[in-house]
Structure formats: structure tokens, C-alpha cells
């Protein structure tokens, strides 16, 4: 073999991570990904895959808690339909279900490179016809910006809408120079999450070193900080590995001997003998990195998951609070709570006020009557006696009477419309049985 690599930093893409993990498992080489956030990668199926960043399981829990905080019940998910997008939305589904909310509509967009603006338009138009006005957007930058642009064009970035985006957006906002105003206009009022890293002297020093290195052209994002800490993790783990007598040696993989005659020379791949010991040292690592205390929990994920909650307004963005697994939603950084006993009561959850899409400071209701919704169907008995209470106007489908007057007056007092239709029941010769009518409704028989 060419170079004796004992560990690999990466991959970045969750999609690539799924396929490469089989190589990692076989050759016993730990892969340490600082950016693959698909929650299903934590599975026991991938023992040699270590995630050195936070899983989207926690990001989706954070989003579910934000939705619960604002008392919305149904949300729509627009996502890129690959491993990262699909599994992230699945985690959101679970997180919402435990809070008795749900995703009422999932709009997946193909991850292919040939997706055009009109493909995205077809998807977003369907979303506009739905009842919910709370939308969670989970994609990559290229597709994400296209969705926001199309939504803005369709007038869906205005009053009444709520957009919550995952951290693909903050990665771009943190790294790029200020985006053009047209682009910023398409995301006014959006709530975004970002992986939280505690403030520290080391982080500040690294930040100024970064600015000197990049000349201010490339901003520092949380994934870069995790990548930096991953190198230190590897260094510490290899150090311990040597201290425990580990050696770097490789053995031929007997399973590959049968794969001969191929130009790829697959039989050249060898198993790293020290793999299990190095993996053990990686999992036992404990040091303070730029992202804070760097340590794995027994479930092989980084400790202390936390996110910043950002509101995009004007030409930039503003932090409205934090979420952490330990303390929930707060306006103080999560580090202030770790020394205190956890308090997850709903009265303890706080966020600063948000400026919603349409420059709205009132919390949007989060739903409307859908264009393709069902009318409220009201069964009305065709009575023979006491016709002053309710009776059908002959020759029409309308009804009159005291009951109808009370109903119409009550509906007029509501702050919203109630589209309804009266459905007559009965043969007109005798009073219909109410018991029969209710039974027909419960068994789902149409009264037409």
C-alpha cells in the first residue's frame, strides 16, 4: 500500500458517509466526520464512524422546541430528498410527535444537479395551498437559496408565514462576505439555527489568527472549528495509542483475495491492526478544544449539544436566544446553566422577541384555511313537526328556522370565515331518527 493511513478526517457529506462507512468497518480505520450531520450515521451499523460535530437529531429537537414554544401544531417540511435531508426530517417528525405536533406535509426536492427553478416552483406552489404556514427548510445552500427566492416570488415571505431554516444558512452567512440585498430580501424574518460554540480566549485568538490568514475574505464557521478540533482529537488519540503500546501495522484482507484481475488492485487494501485500540482511544478522549469541552458520550456523540437561534433582519442577523439539550430555550448562553440543576419547565423557556416575515412583530397564527380544504358539512333533518325550528325552503338546498338563525349569528361573530354546507336527511314524511343519522356519520356513509 502507498501510505499507512491510520484514521481519516471526513467525509463532509452524509451521503458519502453512508457508502464509505462500509470501507471503514472492513478496514478498521476510524472516520471522523466534522460535518456529516445525518442522525442515522450514529447507528450501531457504523462502529468506525465517529461524528465530531453535533447530529441533526439535536438540531431537530431544538426546532421542535421552538415550535412548541410558539404553540404551533402543524408544520410543513421542505427538504432535499437525500440521506441528510430525509433523515433530518424524520428526526423532526419524531421530535414533534413527542410534543403532540406534526408535519402535515413533506415536500421533498430531488438532490440532482439538474433541478431547475421551475421544478422548485412546482413544489412550492403545492406548499402554498396547504393549511399550515409554518415551514421548516432543510437543504444545502444552492437549493436552499433557490427555494427562498421562489417563495419570495410567490409572496410566501410575507405576513402570516413562519420560516425556520437549519444551519446550512448560517454556515453561508458566517463564511461569506455580506450577501447582496436582493438575496437578503428573500429571507427577511427567517429563524435559523447554528451550532453553538462557547466563547473562550482560545476561540477569540483563533478568530483573529483566521482573519489575518484569510484577509477577511472568508469567515469562520462552526464546521471549521469542529474540523480544527478533529485534528487535535486524532493527535491526542494517537498519542495515547502509542503510550499503550499500539503499533502501526496492516494485514491483508483475506476477503479481497478473491477479487482479482481488476485494474483497481482492490487486494492492495489492508486492515489496520491497531484500529480497535485507536477507536477506543478516540472514544475516551477528553480535552478542551475551540468548540468547548471535547468528549464523547456513551452513545458516541459529542457532549453538550447546543444551538444559537438567529433571526435574519435587514442586512444581517441577530441572535434571539439559545437552545441546549440541558436547559432548553434561553436568552443566556448554555454554559451558564451546566453548573446548575437542569430546569426544563415551560415557564423557564425564554427567547427574545423575533421580527417575523413581513416585518411583523406579532407572532403569526401559523395556519390558514386551505384552498383545497373541505367545507364543514352540517346534517339537517327534514322535519315534519316543529318546522319553526328548522325546515327546508321548498325547491332549494337552503334551510330556514330558529336553529339556522342561531348558527349563522354565531358564525358571524367568529374572527374568521367558516365555509359550510347543509346536507338534508330524511324522507319528508316523518321525523328522521337522530340515532340513525349519527350512526350513518360514524360509519362514514354519505348522506347525499
Amino acid at each position: 500500500m502507498e501510505t499507512d493511513v491510520v484514521a481519516v478526517i471526513g467525509p463532509q457529506s452524509s451521503v458519502v458517509a453512508h457508502t464509505i462507512s462500509h470501507v471503514a468497518n472492513e478496514l478498521q480505520v476510524p472516520f471522523l466526520s466534522f460535518a456529516a450531520t445525518d442522525p442515522t450515521l450514529s447507528s450501531l451499523q457504523f462502529p468506525y464512524f465517529l461524528r465530531t460535530t453535533q447530529s441533526d437529531l439535536h438540531q431537530m429537537t431544538a426546532i421542535a422546541e421552538v415550535i412548541e414554544f410558539y404553540a404551533w401544531k402543524e408544520v410543513i417540511a421542505i427538504f432535499i430528498d437525500d440521506d441528510y435531508g430525509r433523515n433530518g426530517v424524520s428526526a423532526l417528525d419524531d421530535a414533534l410527535a413527542t410534543r403532540r405536533c406534526r408535519i402535515s406535509y413533506k415536500a421533498g426536492i430531488s438532490p440532482g444537479t439538474t433541478v431547475t427553478r421551475s421544478d422548485v416552483m412546482d413544489v412550492i406552489v403545492k406548499v402554498a395551498l396547504m393549511e399550515s404556514r409554518v415551514i421548516v427548510l432543510h437543504a444545502y445552500p444552492t437549493l436552499g437559496f433557490m427555494v427562498l427566492s421562489v417563495a419570495h416570488y410567490l409572496g410566501m415571505m410575507g405576513d402570516g408565514y413562519v420560516w425556520i431554516s437549519t444551519d446550512w444558512l448560517t454556515t453561508v452567512l458566517d463564511s461569506s462576505p455580506p450577501l447582496p440585498q436582493d438575496t437578503m430580501d428573500t429571507m427577511q424574518g427567517v429563524l435559523v439555527l447554528r451550532q453553538h460554540t462557547p466563547d473562550s480566549e482560545n476561540k477569540r485568538a483563533f478568530s483573529s489568527r483566521w482573519n489575518k490568514l484569510t484577509g477577511g475574505l472568508l469567515g469562520l464557521n462552526s464546521y471549521a472549528l469542529h474540523a480544527y478540533d478533529t485534528v487535535w482529537l486524532v493527535a491526542h488519540a494517537i498519542d495515547s495509542f502509542f503510550n499503550q503500546g499500539g503499533t502501526i501495522s496492516f494485514s491483508n484482507d483475506t476477503k479481497l483475495q478473491s477479487v482479482e484481475g481488476s485494474n483497481l488492485h482492490l487486494e492492495a487494501m489492508s486492515i489496520f491492526d491497531g484500529g480497535p485500540l485507536l477507536l477506543k482511544n478516540l472514544l475516551e478522549s477528553n480535552f478542551i478544544g475551540l468548540t468547548g469541552p471535547f468528549k464523547f458520550s456513551p452513545e458516541k456523540s459529542l457532549i453538550r449539544p447546543a444551538y444559537d437561534i438567529i433571526n435574519v433582519i435587514g442586512t444581517g442577523f441577530r441572535r434571539v436566544g439559545y437552545w441546549s439539550n440541558y436547559s432548553g430555550l434561553s436568552i443566556l448562553p448554555p454554559e451558564t446553566f451546566y453548573s446548575r440543576p437542569p430546569n426544563r419547565s415551560s415557564s423557564n423557556q425564554k427567547l427574545y422577541s423575533v421580527v417575523w416575515p413581513g416585518n411583523n412583530v406579532q407572532k403569526p397564527r401559523g395556519w390558514v384555511f386551505p384552498n383545497n380544504g373541505k367545507q364543514l358539512r352540517i346534517g339537517v333533518p327534514i322535519r315534519v313537526s316543529y318546522r319553526e325550528f328548522v325546515s327546508q325552503i321548498p325547491g332549494t338546498n337552503n334551510f330556514k328556522g330558529f336553529c339556522i338563525d342561531v348558527f349563522v349569528a354565531a358564525v358571524n361573530l367568529l374572527p374568521y370565515a367558516v365555509p359550510h354546507q347543509f346536507v338534508p336527511y330524511g324522507n319528508g314524511h316523518e321525523n328522521p331518527s337522530y340515532t340513525d343519522m349519527v350512526r350513518l356519520i360514524t360509519t362514514g356513509v354519505s348522506l347525499w
Binding site: 500500500m1 502507498e2 501510505t3 499507512d4 493511513v5 491510520v6 484514521a7 481519516v8 478526517i9 471526513g10 467525509p11 463532509q12 457529506s13 451521503v15 458519502v16 457508502t19 464509505i20 470501507v23 478496514l27 480505520v29 466534522f34 460535518a35 437525500d82 444537479t113 444545502y140 445552500p141 453561508v172 463564511s175 461569506s176 483563533f206 489568527r209 490568514l213 484569510t214 472568508l218 469567515g219 464557521n221 464546521y223 471549521a224 472549528l225 474540523a227 480544527y228 478540533d229 478533529t230 485534528v231 487535535w232 486524532v234 493527535a235 494517537i238 498519542d239 502509542f242 503510550n243 499503550q244 503500546g245 502501526i248 483497481l264 488492485h265 482492490l266 492492495a268 487494501m269 489496520f272
Partner: protein, 112 residues
């Protein structure tokens, strides 16, 4: 005569002393070196680690610089991996699942 003999004896003994010193030094070194290698086997001069991510992406551009800076910091730090140089071999992948799989497999063949 005795004095001459004594002189010769003295010369002899000093030479013996020198030889004795040299031999004892060699033995000491021998013991020391055995002691060094016996304590957790001799570490290699270089340890190789791979890195695979998409260079031309928002995350990748920043990650590349961060990883390179971290490698510099690790190698200039005397308390971690003393005497061993950490080398990170960077390999560009692609967000496409197919190209990532192909690239990843080829990377494995080359590097693992």
C-alpha cells in the same frame, strides 16, 4: 627500576582505566537504549492521517484552512506526539453520492 616499573604499571592502568570507562559507557548506553525501546515500542517518525471532503464548498473552504492550521499547531506542540510528525493527506471528494463513493473507494485503495 621500580620507578620505571611503577611508571609502566601506571601507564598500563590508566589505559585500562580509559578502556574500563569506555566499556562501562557502552554498557550504559546499551542499557539506556534497551530501556527506551522497551518502554512502549519506538514511535514512528511520521504518522499518516487522511482527510476527505469537498474543497470547493462553503464548509470545505473553511475546513481546509482549519485542518492545515491544526496540523501546524499539533506539530509545533511538544506535549502531544513528541518526536512524531502528523501528516494529513487531503483528498477532494464531491457531494454527489456516486462520485463520492467512487472517489472514496479509490482513496481507500490508494491510502488504506
Amino acid at each position: 627500576m621500580l620507578f620505571k616499573h611503577a611508571k609502566i604499571l601506571l601507564c598500563h592502568s590508566s589505559r585500562m582505566n580509559v578502556v574500563w570507562i569506555i566499556v562501562s559507557c557502552l554498557v550504559c548506553f546499551g542499557v539506556c537504549s534497551v530501556g527506551l525501546s522497551g518502554n512502549g515500542t519506538s514511535r514512528p517518525a511520521v504518522v499518516n492521517v487522511g482527510a476527505i471532503f469537498t474543497f470547493d464548498s462553503t464548509i470545505g473552504r473553511a475546513a481546509k484552512i482549519a485542518i492545515q492550521e491544526a496540523v501546524k499547531d499539533v506539530n509545533s506542540n511538544s506535549s502531544v506526539l513528541q518526536g512524531t510528525k502528523l501528516v494529513v493527506q487531503l483528498q477532494n471528494s464531491n457531494c454527489s453520492g456516486f462520485l463520492g463513493m467512487v472517489g472514496g473507494t479509490l482513496f481507500s485503495v490508494r491510502f488504506l
